[in-house]
Amino acid sequence: MKRSRFVMSLLAGALAAAGTAHASVAYISNEKDDTLSVLDLNSWQVVETIEVGERPRGIALSKDGSKLYICASDSDTVQVMDLATRRIIANLPSGADPEQFALHPDNRKLYISNEDDALVTVVDTQTHEVLAQIEVGVEPEGMAVSPDGRWAVNTSETTNMLHWIDTQTHALVDNTLVDQRPRHVEFREDGQLLWASAEIGGTVSVVDVPSRQIIKKLTFEIKGIHPDKIQPVGVKLSRDGRYAFVALGPANHVAVVDANSYEVLDYLLVGRRVWHMAFTPDGRYLLTTNGVSGDVSVINVDDLKVERSIKVGRYPWGVVTTP
């Protein structure tokens, strides 16, 4: 009797786990629908569409994968979704017009760009307190925290800088001038290099983190596409250190870059206006959000082929995946 109850509870636990994990899924924010699409990564089907706050853009997972943070830009808040129930359980005081953010390795400090106010707001995700607000350049956009937790780096689109924020003191300690309209920053896993895209400049700068100097500037060229339409936005580095993938916006291509030699190896045709990307948990696929065509392209990372595209909501913006 006792034993069977124990088995039952085990079973229930397993069922609950299966129910909550929903296998492997991707969450995609749809900027003009005020929804998230939930994409099953085994069946490649959209299995659920969840209503969230207004103009959802940047999204990020908590370190344990149990919560999803959503920048609801026009609701002026960061929403917290419990992924077990897919319900919004809290709204964080994000400052006005939050666009992108990054979570510190401590799983508590969330660094949020407030696009309209030229501020970065730091919020404690447990106490929901605002820990600091840091003045940065005009139209702060991209955010990244270094793997060792020392730096939070913000890009400002009209000031054209990377702003280096010391996460201990929350002081802005240095700025790196890059090309026009920097959009996204991505640290290499060892924290030694930082990749920064410049949308209007058409370049990606690779920055040496210890010296905060640009050591390499990448340019892109696609036959038949006007150079001005090649506008780098999202950057993702493959976990094996081989590749950097750069989403080229209205050029509708993702550049594949050798992450060591910086040579551009290939350009992969995806949907229209490709912005952000995420790897599947097993690292085998890269998903891209294509705003104008309203879909997600799936790139096979092994053979660098675009395998499929899946319709989601209007203006898909951000994407994350969870096992």
């Binding site: 689109e157 054209n160 026009q180 309209r181 400049g201 001005d228």
Partner: protein, 389 residues
């Protein structure tokens, strides 16, 4: 002697410091705004705000100071506004004598010429007010840059789209001011360039109050020839607002009213423009218009050059602005730079109706050996101006 020393000291505090990136730098920019009385108009419901232009310059100064904080660059705007051109010129010269060298000018073409006369050659002038084609072709003003699009750029942007839609037959209706005539000239030139056909041309000189009688007067006025669109040239908005829905044939109205080619408009919201609008509206409590944008772009051009060179020396800034390195991110979806012949800022032109963006030119398929942006306006072989020799 004493006076000389004073002058030297005055210059020292405003003029170039060493170009070292991190030494503190003050950048003083003059904004000269001419308030132009356009006379009484029939459609007077939404007048152009008197501070059109100045608000754009102010916003650009604020934007630049946010950036400048990190580089120890401080920007200050010195504003002169008024109706009297002679007074504007005298006041501008007084600013020059106080050491100012960077000028953003929102005036008509004649005042621009007078300002160039009055301000010595070591001052850098940006035209953010006059669309006159002559300034880009034969009445070249020495070392003048333009951030506001010329009439030819607007007309070409519209013409490309009309050709793309295969609406090739145009009825041209123009008002009777010199500006209307100039816009009509640009439309005729665009028709010739891109293959439009002006099937008839009519001048509107009636003085009836169209607010009451448009329905009776305009259909017969625009009847007669077969056409695909009515192209209206009425820059001050005297009668053109009444043309849509009152044409003899059921056809669209394009030009200065209806579907309009514009350098900037509230309906441009992509490429981050929504952010520029919200900053502007928070500051000015109104929508940002073309004049605001041109002045904003003028100040931002100077500031971008200051940021990249670490200098406020006008000659150095000018060289940088006209170099291949210069690029301006200006919420139009691609980087902008200046034409070496006319000093004109290359830029896409939006086609809007009052409540939506319809398209953006250059249209696909209009090719150019250098950049498709140069399919808009006067190209190098068509212009006698040479800002860069």
């Amino acid at each position: 002697m004493l006076r000389n020393r004073l002058l030297a000291a005055g210059i020292a505090c405003l003029l170039p410091f060493s170009p070292a990136a991190r030494s503190a730098l003050n950048v003083d920019v003059a904004y000269v705004g001419q308030i132009i009385d356009r006379g009484p108009v029939l459609s007077n419901i939404i007048p152009e705000p008197d501070d059109a232009g100045r608000q754009g310059a102010q916003l650009a100064i604020a934007d630049s100071n946010t950036t400048g904080r990190f580089l120890k660059h401080h920007y200050e705007l010195h504003t002169i506004e008024g109706e009297d051109a002679r007074q504007l010129v005298a006041d501008s010269r007084a600013l020059y004598d106080r050491g100012l060298r960077l000028f953003v000018l929102n005036t008509d073409a004649a005042t621009l010429a007078a300002l160039r006369e009055a301000l010595p050659d070591d001052s850098l002038l940006i035209n953010a007010g006059s669309r006159a084609d002559a300034l880009r072709t034969d009445q070249c003003i020495d070392q003048l840059l333009h951030t506001i699009p010329s009439r030819a750029m607007l007309a070409d942007a519209l013409a490309q789209w009309l050709i793309y839609r295969r609406w090739n037959r145009w009825l041209l209706v123009r008002g009777n001011t010199a500006d209307d005539q100039a816009f009509a000239d640009a439309i005729r030139r665009a028709a010739k360039r891109f293959g439009g056909r002006i099937v008839a041309e009519k001048a509107w000189s009636f003085d009836t109050d169209l607010r009451r009688t448009a329905q009776k007067e305009l259909p017969p006025f625009t009847a007669g020839a077969e056409y695909d669109v009515v192209v209206v040239a009425d820059e001050r908005g005297d009668f053109g607002e009444y043309l849509p829905y009152n044409t003899g044939l059921p056809r669209p109205v394009v030009g200065t009213q209806g579907l309009m080619p514009v350098g900037w408009h509230k309906m441009i919201e992509a490429w981050g423009a929504a952010q520029l609008h919200s900053r502007f509206e928070a500051q000015a409590q109104r929508w940002m218009n073309e004049k605001d944008y041109a002045s904003w772009a003028g100040v931002r051009t100077l500031a971008e050059a200051v940021t990249r060179t670490g200098s406020n020396d006008p000659a150095r800034l000018r060289d940088y602005i006209l170099s291949d390195q210069f690029e301006l991110a200006a919420f139009k979806g691609r980087k902008l730079n200046f034409r070496h012949w006319s000093g004109q800022l290359r830029q896409p032109i939006a086609l809007v109706h009052p409540r939506a963006l319809v398209s953006q030119s250059p249209q696909d398929g209009f090719l150019h050996p250098h950049t498709d942006l140069d399919t808009l306006g006067f190209d190098e072989p068509e212009s006698g101006c040479r800002v860069v020799e």
